[in-house]
Amino acid sequence: MTSKARSGFRTTTLKLLTWLVPLAILALIPSLTENIYVIHILILANIYAIFAASWDLISGYTGQVSLGHALFFGGGGYVSAFLAMWYNVPPSICLLISGALMAIISLVVGVPCLRLSGPYLAIATLAFAEAFRSIVIALPHITRGDEGMPLRALILGTTPNYYASLVLMLVLVIIIYLIANRYFRLPFIAVRENEAAARASGINVTKYRLLAFTLSAFFAGIAGSFYAFYRMAITPEELSIDTSFMPLTMAVIGGMGTVTGPVLGAYILVVLTESLRVIIYRIRILIYAALTVAFITLMPGGILGALRGLAKRPSSLRSRSSEHPLLAALMGQGKSATRARAFAGFVVWSTYFLLFSL
């Protein structure tokens, strides 16, 4: 065995281990702990992982930011609630139907917006989510307004729910990963990086954006439907801007355009906020927002991007620092890279961060 082959084998094993070890821990958690609250938090994390990965499919890969993904999350929940409570549709079929319906609804926004280049999708999704929320509140005799709609549970018990959510998360995230990184990787990234060049090389830009958006809505709808069944209720809160902001934060913190990054971000954020719930509950969204701004300005690759950069080249932070003057000052880069300048940069950087995190 040559050394090259051996190192290749070693990296494959390492890659497999980085996937398998967290999975094994996740699979064993119900037998490791008796605490139902921990398992409850992890179920939420699993659901949000699907949600964040679906957001990444449209925004991380094709570069069209969706600011109203709560529409598909909450919409999926409401569709399941209607189907399950009025027509007695079995829950497992509800999941699929609500995903499919959300995919159809995404066409209403996607077809007019995605054929244009510019921030139109962001505007229209933001507006559609708010419009749908106000419709839900305005029709209390159908949707029960602010109270929300009750549902029958999909599965009883916390541990079975945990395994169901884990399996659903794994299946959907692997499907999203394959779609984004195997089947449509090149057209998606071409559309994101340079629209004109993609068009010139014969890629139907609108088609691929629409495909990503529809699939994204489909998976978000399934996530929302499962969430509704798990919580046994769905309220207009799930359609609000706060909910739209969740997958965005998770993807930005984990690393946009990677699918695994948003999943990582979902676990980090949900576990962080739920474990500090007593202390920071009131300021949790402020922390989300401040983290989002800090990450997207200073570390656009997210945690995963930084880890990958460190694994490849420990000094990669320095090479990226030209992106932001404050980061460059912090790293002490430039022609007259003196220690005083680096210190000044540090002061600026920390006031900057303090300003945003209050």
């Binding site: 600011l67 007019p112 507006a127 419009a131």
Partner: protein, 313 residues
């Protein structure tokens, strides 16, 4: 929908029962609706023009615009409680919000001007940060600012609140001032030059960075004024800003992104539409109506009203 049918039915009954009384009633209602709509439109125009100005000059969609508006409302409210002087409180709040706008431009928008989609996330995040700062500092309360001019005018048998006329006149005066500033002054010319071609403008000696800052400050100040005036009619809470951001966004889309003239015309149109929807259907449906407007305009004519006078899209 039930309200709409009821309202139409009532009109028919009144119109049938009394010959002249019914007609007068219908006309009076229509005039009141239009004037109310124009007043709302004028206030929305103040908010939307800033958004459109920023997009036109630097190609940035500032999604923190609505939160700046709410920020102005809450700062005015607190300063009024402290000092007891409405005018001073308003002016100080407008200046403070303009300073926040400048900080956003310097710290978070200018360094990332090359990435359009990243800027969307950044400005959205900043909007969320501002909203949450309001929520943490002031708490989950509804407020209004106590600006009011008592009395009412009666023109041709139609009663109109004097205060609403004052608002209408004030916003139109501010808009005219902005128009003259942009058309006539040196800074205004620089703003228009950058909107046309940033590189060419900088070659001809325009300080692009400074003009961008000025634009951001101007837009923030306008939206702050709009917020303070709006808060005397409507209740505000920390998350109200998104609703007004949405209204401003639909106005800029209907008027054509980056077109100030289009934004002004569109805001009067949408203001009248909103007051009609509020009267005939229910105020709860206004967000939906705005969304439907966005989708129709994007489907039929993406360049909006600006396509009408520029020709083509």
């Amino acid at each position: 929908m039930r309200n709409l049918i009821l309202a139409l039915y009532n009109h028919r009954v009144i119109a049938k029962s009394g010959q002249s009384l019914g007609v007068v009633y219908v006309i009076a209602t229509a005039v009141q609706l239009v004037i109310n709509g124009l007043m709302l439109g004028a206030l929305y125009a103040l908010a939307a023009v800033g958004l459109s100005l920023i997009y036109g000059v630097m190609g940035v969609l500032n999604l923190s615009h609505g939160s700046l508006l709410t920020m102005a409302v809450f700062i005015t409210y607190s300063l009024y409680l402290l000092s007891g002087n409405v005018l001073a409180a308003t002016i100080l709040a407008v200046v403070l919000v303009a300073v926040i706008g400048i900080a956003i431009e310097k710290g978070a928008v200018y360094p990332f001007r090359a990435w359009e989609m990243r800027l969307l996330v950044i400005t959205f995040g900043i909007g969320k940060v501002l909203e949450q700062i309001i929520y943490v500092v002031w708490g989950p309360i509804y407020i209004t600012t106590p600006i009011y001019v008592p009395g009412s005018l009666e023109i041709l048998g139609v009663t109109i609140s004097a205060y609403r006329m004052v608002l209408l006149v004030l916003s139109i005066a501010l808009m005219t001032g902005l128009w003259i500033f942009i058309q006539r002054s040196k800074w205004g010319k620089a703003i228009r030059a950058i909107a046309q071609d940033e590189e060419a403008a900088s070659i001809f000696g325009v300080n692009v960075k400074r003009v961008r800052t000025l634009t951001f400050a101007l837009a923030s100040a306008l939206t702050a004024i709009a917020g303070t005036l709006l808060s005397s009619i409507y209740m505000f809470r920390s998350a109200s800003g998104w609703e007004y951001l949405l209204i401003a966004l639909s106005i800029t889309i209907v008027g054509g992104l980056g077109d100030i003239r289009g934004a002004v015309v569109a805001s009067f149109m949408l203001g009248v539409m909103e007051s009609c929807i509020g009267y005939f259907v229910s105020p709860l449906w206004r967000t939906t109506a705005y969304f439907i407007f966005i989708i129709i305009v994007l489907t039929v004519k993406p360049s909006g009203l600006s396509g009408l006078w520029r020709g083509g899209s």
